[in-house]
Symmetry: C2
Subunit: 95 residues, 2 copies
């Protein structure tokens, strides 16, 4: 797994940055805040992402306070954003 | 739900502070970092806590990075630590 090329950043990352994801300061990572109706919905989202993430063996950094979930994605193995982060971000948005 | 009395802090809170929980700076809240064997174990813990928390209608502030989970407990309604925080902390430790 390697970091995204400049071309991939244009074609794959840019659409995410236009749909609520943003770059993390001083890191090659993206983050997004989701808000749900209540804790049940927020943790339901987390559970669906957790199953996907564990299957991908690619895990988010995330936090939850009641109905809010903040997700940060980056790839430890390559020290930055990889295709896995794009795929997991797209999955999060699909839920 | 009211904040813990001084007497409750001695009898209920002190044992938690002696077993890995610590006070959060500038807040009447407690926090603890748990470490598990892998993401499956960490998210399994979170799922068990989530079911309990939603039943109590008392939810943690928490974050997860791979096999690590950081839990912070405080009670919004009373602006500080309540009996619910003690009960949820004890439950977390029991898992």
């Amino acid at each position: 797994m390697s970091t995204l090329s400049e071309s991939q950043r244009q074609t794959l990352l840019q659409p995410l940055l236009s749909s609520g994801w943003s770059m993390v300061d001083n890191r090659d990572a993206i983050t997004k805040k989701y808000q749900f109706s209540d804790f049940n919905a927020a943790f339901g989202f987390m559970t669906r992402v957790a199953l996907k993430a564990d299957k991908m063996n690619h895990h988010p950094e995330w936090s939850n306070v009641y109905n809010r979930v903040e997700v940060t994605l980056s790839t430890h193995d390559c020290g930055g954003l990889s295709r896995n982060d794009v795929d997991l971000a797209v999955f999060c948005d699909s839920l």
